[in-house]
């Protein structure tokens, strides 16, 4: 039982780091800073719900979709790692941001807050990876929802945090998250390669 619980917490933490609310909340808060307090709340609730919807859809249907296109688990893991790596590089070196933040004069809908900021390619890959593990779908689902709840709390506190921590503190936090993400990304690629070589024998 405790092994299951530990598994849930590990996965929730991993997905939480991939969702990167600490790094994103500054960007998100800046994006909606122009709207009134109430409007900001409406936008955040809507975007977070869409994000959960995407996560759950990917969790339940993603596996079948990937089975249909004939992609092995090794390929999924390596893809997740590589995309995640590109993403974490943009956290570490924010000058050349990968996430496009243009055309933001209108109210943000789905893009860029729900996806790719909250649920990006890396988190979809991670969720697909979770749902791929045999006999573990219920703990994985719990982990996904748990990670989303944690993310939602932090994203929701975003505008408030931005005032408290200040821009510098946010930037420092983003670098640290970037480092952790890079490590996880390389680990994912290695895991995928291991799967690939194990499959060869």
């Amino acid at each position: 039982m405790s092994a299951v619980l530990a598994g849930i917490l590990t996965k929730a933490l991993q997905l939480f780091l991939v969702l990167d609310p600490i790094g994103n909340t500054g960007i998100i808060a800046t994006l909606i800073a122009g709207f009134s307090k109430e409007r900001q709340r409406v936008i955040l609730v809507r975007e977070l719900s869409i994000a959960l919807l995407i996560l759950l859809t990917v969790f339940f249907v993603g596996t079948y979709l990937l089975a249909a296109i004939g992609v092995s688990q090794a390929a999924i893991t390596i893809t997740g790692g590589v995309i995640f790596f590109l993403f974490s590089i943009s956290l570490l070196f924010p000058g050349q941001t990968v996430v496009s933040l243009r055309n933001l004069d209108e109210e943000p809908l789905i893009v860029p807050i729900a996806t790719p900021l909250i649920v990006g390619p890396s988190s979809t890959a991670t969720v697909i990876l979770f749902s791929h593990e045999p006999n573990m779908w219920l703990p994985s689902l719990v982990a996904v929802v748990l990670a989303w709840i944690l993310t939602a709390i932090i994203v929701f506190l975003g505008p408030f945090l931005l005032l408290k921590v200040g821009k510098t503190g946010m930037q420092v936090a983003e670098r640290i998250v970037g480092m952790i993400c890079t490590l996880i990304a390389v680990k994912m690629v290695l895991k995928g390669l291991k799967l690939f070589f194990a499959d060869l024998q």
Partner: protein
């Protein structure tokens, strides 16, 4: 590779969903009937170009004596780069803006809808790769035709789709398609590696 996989990857590379906005931008001054005629005409040009490459490409690669392993590795790499651009469309933007100068907008004829939007370099390379990889030729033709049929349907109803789901949802769909394509590309790379590890370098 199954017919489904080949068709899906071709459909994803044609990227009709991703082209909806650019296409509508090109024809926004024309009336409904004119648009429909244009998209059907352009799509048939695109099909013609793709089929031409199907025949010529196979001959070319045979003449170069490219091994299936090379094909698998090169194809995987090319697909991977195409897919990454769909997910992180940063470098694509200025090129497209360059393509469509807003000042003079003549009615599109072959360029830029038929090529390079639909039958662009990426789909043509992919057709060559698949033709060389698959020994059953009709499968590639079938894949091209099915993927093309879906693409023409999507572009024919471009205005309706855009009005229904909105611009942002289209971008989101393109990103998801890019993710799928990346996975297929990595799988292709791994297949190439596998055959090298097992069978040695041919």
């Amino acid at each position: 590779m199954s017919l489904f996989t080949t068709t899906l990857s071709m459909f994803l590379i044609m990227n009709s969903v991703g082209h909806i906005m650019a296409y509508l931008g090109l024809v926004d001054q024309l009336d409904e009937r004119r648009r429909q005629r244009i998209i059907i005409r352009e799509m048939f040009f695109a099909l013609l170009i793709m089929l031409l490459f199907y025949f010529v490409g196979g001959l070319l690669l045979d003449a170069l004596e490219v091994s299936p392993q090379t094909m698998s590795l090169a194809g995987g790499l090319i697909l991977f780069l195409i897919a990454i651009r769909m997910i992180f469309p940063r470098s694509k933007q200025p090129e497209e803006q360059q393509l469509f100068l807003p000042s003079e907008k003549p009615e599109p004829f072959i360029f830029p809808i038929a090529t390079p939007m639909i039958a662009g370099p990426s789909i043509l390379t992919t057709i060559m790769l698949y033709t060389h990889q698959e020994h059953i030729g009709y499968r590639v033709i079938a894949a091209i035709l099915i993927a093309w049929a879906f693409s023409i349907t999507i572009l024919f109803f471009a205005q309706e789709i855009r009005n229904f789901v909105g611009r942002r949802a289209l971008i989101a769909v393109e990103r998801l398609m890019g993710l799928l394509l990346t996975m297929m590309a990595v799988e292709m790379l791994l297949n190439g590696l596998r055959s090298i590890i097992i069978g040695g370098i041919a």
